[in-house]
Structures are given as C-alpha cells and as structure tokens.
C-alpha cells in the first residue's frame, strides 16, 4: 500500500471518528440540558406541593403564615425560559420536550390555582394573564405576542403570566381551556378574567390591563412560545 493510500485511509478513519464524536457530544449535551430542566422542574414541583400542603394545613388563616402569593414565580419563569430555548433547539415535536412541557404546564396551572386561592383568602388583587398560543404555524402573531408579554413581565414584575400551547395534548390543559371557554382564535389572552383575542401591538395589549395594574413589585412567571 502506498503512503498516499495509507494516508487517505487514516484521514478517512479520523474524519469518521471526529464526526461520530461530535454527534455523540451533541446528544450527550442535549441529555444534560433536559436533565437540568427536569431537576429544576422536580424542585419546583416539590416546593409547590409543599405550599399547597401548607395552605391546606392552615386553611383557616393562610395569610398569617404564607405570603399573599407564591414565591416560586421567578424559578418558574427561569424554567419557562430554559424550556422555551430547548424547544427551539430540539424542535417542538421532540418527545422529551413535549413531556417536559406537560409537566411545566401542570406546575403553571397549580401555581395559578393556589395563587387564585391565596388572593381570595387574603383579599389581594394580583394581575394574572393566561396566554394561549400555537406553534403549529397557524398563529403568525404568537411570537410577537410572546415577546411583548416577556417584556411586560420583565418590566412589571407584579404581573403573573401563564403561557400554554393551546394544542398540547394534556388533560389538565384541556380542562382549563374548556372551563374558561377559550376559543382557538390565537393568540388568546385572559387578563384578570377578561378575554382578548389576536395581537396587534404592545400598546394595544397594554390597554387590556386594568388601570394601574402595570406597576413594578415582585417578579412573575415566564412566556413560552
């Protein structure tokens, strides 16, 4: 075998090895990223459950022992950001992403419900946005709406935003949509019980909020889109 032929074969072997290593590394990093999300999700899940339990134990006087809203909103926002980024990277049809989204939505719904209870018990008036989007390609304004809500949430931390993929196959989400009678005209918003469909501009969206609602206080959850 000539030196040239031998060098070609070695170079080919090196190339295959490099490409295989890169493919393995990408898969490994993907798994690490998903595992990190799962860990955060489990932590938040435990803390939410703890809060619910605490709330049940002290049902008579919840406001004396807990804050008037959950303190997990910033973690939930961070989790949402990470999940959104991972969805962009791996694609919305990735089975692992779908599973994590389901768990995340369950956390959001639980956080939404417990805060609703706390607000009623303690007489507070949090500003809550339920945001429904689709990434099936049938909602050209969803990305703009998601970005606008992210801006509002970052600017007005008092705002609590819960975002949901309208078409995700999750029983609790379907029930929420059915109970609240949310139409599939997306993007859809429920701002403190008031329904709004479609997105034109940030200024128009801001008009949907109750007067004085947009003021800075504590941070809230995120917008996945």
């Amino acid at each position: 075998m000539s030196i040239f032929t031998r060098n070609i074969l070695i170079a080919l072997g090196m190339t295959i090895l490099i490409v295989a290593t890169v493919i393995y590394a990408v898969g490994y990093l993907d798994r690490l990223r998903l595992a990190e999300i799962e860990t955060i999700q489990n932590t938040i899940s435990t803390e939410t459950f703890s809060l619910e339990t605490q709330f049940s134990l002290l049902e008579a006087a919840p406001c004396d022992s807990t804050a008037s809203s959950t303190t997990l909103s910033s973690e939930l926002a961070d989790l949402g950001n990470r999940l959104s980024f991972t969805e962009d990277q791996l694609g919305s049809s990735d089975a692992r992403v779908i599973q994590l989204k389901k768990q995340y939505y369950l956390l959001e719904i639980r956080d939404y419900l417990i805060n609703k209870k706390l607000a009623a018990a303690c007489g507070t008036k949090p500003v809550t946005v339920l945001y429904f989007y689709s990434n099936k390609g049938d909602c050209s304004d969803c990305e703009k709406a998601g970005y606008a809500l992210s801006y509002l949430r970052d600017t007005y931390p008092k705002l609590r935003v819960y975002s949901f993929d309208y078409y995700l196959d999750l029983g609790a989400l379907k029930t929420l949509i059915a109970v609240d009678k949310v139409k599939n005209t997306l993007p859809a918003f429920i701002i403190n019980g008031k329904y709004s469909y479609g997105f034109t501009s940030l200024a128009d969206l801001e008009k949907q909020f109750p007067k004085g609602a947009l003021a800075t206080s504590t941070p809230s959850t995120t917008v996945i889109n």
Binding site: F4, N7, M14, A25, R82, Q89, Y147, Y151, A203
Partner: protein, 411 residues
C-alpha cells in the same frame, strides 16, 4: 433544498481534507523533508528580479539579495526593468558597477516576458531563481533552497513566505494566512502536490525551461501555470520550509481584493481551461484526486455559505424588527446574564470548531517550521474573524470575472 443537505457533506469533506493534511504532515516524507540539513554545495545560481514600477522596494530587494550568505562568484542577479515609468530603472542603475548584477531594460510586456528575458541571460546558471521586486530574502534562504536540489529528481523548489513588517489589521491578518500557506506548502510538497511556485524566490533547474518551455502569460498567474505545467510533465516540486522570504502585502482592502481576485481567477482559468486533465487524474496522486478537486469545490461552497449567511442575516433582522416592534430599545439592548445552559451548540457549530482548531494548529506549525518571528495569538483572532468576512468578496468577484470572461489587471 435544506441547507444541511449541502453543509454536512461539505463539513465532512473539509474535515477529511484537513485530516489528510495532518496525517501527511506526520508521515515519513514530510518528516524527512524538515529534517534536511542545509547543503554545503554551491552551484552557480542566477536570480531574476522582474520589475515594473517598483521604485519604493527594488532597492531593498537588491540589498537583501546581495546580503545572501553565498559565494559572490556563484550568485548572479539579473534585474529586468519591464518598461517602468517611475524611478525603478534609475534605482537599479545605482548597482550597475556591481559585478554580480546584470541590468536589463525592455518595453513593457508583462512579468512573464521579463522572466523569460532574464532566463535567456542566465545561460551558465545551474539553478535559476526568481524574486518579485517587492520581496526580501533572509540571508540564509538561498542555502536552504539549494538543499532541495540535492535530490536529482527535484526540478523546482518553493520557499516559505512571510509578510514584510505587518502593521495594519489587513497585513496582520495576511501574516497569519501566510504561515498557514507555509504549512500547506510543506505538506503538499510531501505528496508532490504543489501547484504554485511563487514569484518570491522559487528556483528551477534550467532543464525545466528547456523541456517544457518558458513562462507564459497564464492569466497573470505565471508562477501557478509553470507549476501546473511541471506537474503535468511529472516533475517533482519541493519546498524549503526554512528558506524565509518576506513580501509586501496589500495594506488596503481594495488592493487585497484586486490581488486575490487575480490569484483566484488565475487558478480557476488555469485549472478549468488549460489543466482540466489534472483534476481527478489518478496519475497525479494527491494533486489530482484531492487537492485540485477540493480547491474547486471549496470556492463554490464558500460563496454558497456566504450568500446563505447574508440571506439569513437579512431574514433574521427583518424578523427581529417585526417581532420586537413597539418594544423600547432600552429593553432590547439590556445585556442578559451569561448562562452556559443557553450555549447554542449544534453539530454544525462543533464541526466548524474542529475545523478552526485544525487550521490554527496548521498556522502554528507553519510559523514554527519556518522559524518566522512575530506575535501570533491576536493575529489569529484577526485572521479567523476578518478573513471569513472578506475572502468571499474576492471569491465572488473571481467567479463573476471568469463567468463573464473579464480580463484582470495586475494592479
């Protein structure tokens, strides 16, 4: 068609190409070549300096030749003024009394005609070299060049080149590129795949011109055409990696694009029109099967990737403007905290990283083998960033010139 369909095969090909270079660098012929000890032989040598309007550099070029560590009686310098309209000829005439120097003057006819006139006047030389009038040789360079010819089948040899006193960003970028070129020349010579014998200080046995003829116009890349003609004839072209030659590099983008367009159109025209038989030719080994085909493919791919990058940039910008419409600029410009979680790795990015790492390794090898002084680290950053932005400009122009049949000019 998805971009990945083209990107991944090309990345695979490029990694294969770079792996081949690394393997060849470590193989026996390359090791033997760089372990070569400078020869003590002193054959009669003639160095031809073709000049056209080089008044600012010709003096330094001549002085560097006179400072070569080589017996004076064995080294003759032939200065050929190719119809300069500036003070080149009068500067040459200052050396008219030097017995080593012969001065010729002719009407302007192009560099190849000046070289051929010089060759006619180098009848008794055992080796004939050339040196562009904007280049300067290291005192030990000739000894290193001569050593290549200790092996009788070597018909020509090319030196290592460096940028003379790089100051501007573009010059510093080219300084790095030249070190990569030195590594490439060293590696390609190990598989007899050199397809350029550069104007600055390449040497030939006189038999080359006797057997395959003198220099040709060759689309203003006579040094490339001569090397391709030698390859077709089955001649061996060596590299003296420690023979250092310093050349003036273009210091403005306009000059750089002009120079590189000339080089690239020369490459495309020579290879596609006159030496197409070498491409894919198994008899030509690495040159025919790997080097020339890959060089052609890379031109197309580099332009394609650049075009795609521009389209993507425009699309993303329009999309970003549409998506963030109405959001205050201050919010958009607020820096976000760096978090490794958001590192946007992908197979394409990692494979590109591998390619850049191999290129940087080759640059370091080129610098070390040629013993070139100067800083490297910041210049490598300049090279990686600037080169990827500006090189598509001359590639696009070259392809356009070749497609439209536009003739190029020297300056």
């Amino acid at each position: 068609m998805s971009l990945e369909v083209v990107t991944y095969p090309f990345l695979f090909l490029t990694i294969f190409f770079e792996s081949f270079l690394l393997v060849t660098l470590l193989s026996h012929p390359a090791r033997t070549s760089r372990e070569r000890v400078a020869s003590s032989k002193t054959p009669k040598v003639a160095v031809i300096v073709p000049c056209w309007n080089e008044e600012s550099t010709i003096g330094g070029t001549i002085e560097s030749l006179l400072a070569l560590e080589y017996p004076r009686e064995k080294l003759s310098i032939i200065l050929v003024d190719d119809g300069s309209t500036d003070a080149t000829y009068s500067t040459m005439m200052r050396y008219a009394d030097n017995a080593q120097i012969k001065i010729l003057k002719k009407e302007n006819g192009g560099k190849h005609t000046a070289m051929n006139l010089g060759i006619e006047h180098a009848k008794d030389a055992e080796l004939i070299g050339c040196l562009d009038a904007d280049s300067f040789v290291d005192p030990k360079a000739l000894r290193e060049m001569i050593t290549c010819f200790d092996e009788e089948d070597v018909m020509a040899a090319a030196p290592s080149m460096s940028v003379h006193e790089p100051h501007t960003l573009l010059e510093r970028m080219q300084a790095v590129e030249y070190q990569l070129g030195n590594a490439m020349r060293h590696i390609l010579s190990a598989t007899n795949s050199l397809y350029v014998t550069p104007g600055p200080f390449s040497f030939y046995r006189p038999q080359v011109f006797q057997n395959i003829g003198p220099f040709r116009h060759a689309y203003l890349t006579e040094d490339m055409e001569m090397a391709l003609r030698m390859q077709r004839a089955g001649y061996r072209i060596e590299n003296a990696v420690r023979a250092r030659v310093y050349t003036k590099a273009p210091d403005t983008l306009t000059k750089l694009i002009k120079q590189r367009t000339r080089w690239n159109t020369g490459f495309l025209r020579n290879v596609l029109y006159d030496y197409r038989d070498l491409v894919g030719n198994r008899k030509r080994g690495a040159l025919g099967l790997i080097i020339l085909p890959f060089s052609l493919i890379s031109v197309v791919f580099a332009i394609g990737m650049f075009g795609n990058a521009i389209v993507q940039f425009v699309q993303n910008t329009i999309h970003a403007i549409a998506t963030t419409s109405g959001i205050p600029i201050a919010y958009l410009m607020t820096p976000r905290a760096i978090n490794l979680f958001y590192w946007p790795y992908s197979a394409t990015a990692l494979l590109s990283g591998v390619l850049i790492a191999i290129v940087i390794a080759l640059i370091v090898v080129g610098k070390r083998l040629s013993n070139t002084s100067g800083t490297l680290l910041t210049n490598i950053v300049l090279y990686v960033v600037i080169y990827s932005l500006v090189s598509p400009l001359w590639l696009i122009r070259s392809v356009a010139d070749v497609a439209r049949g536009t003739a190029n000019t020297w300056r």
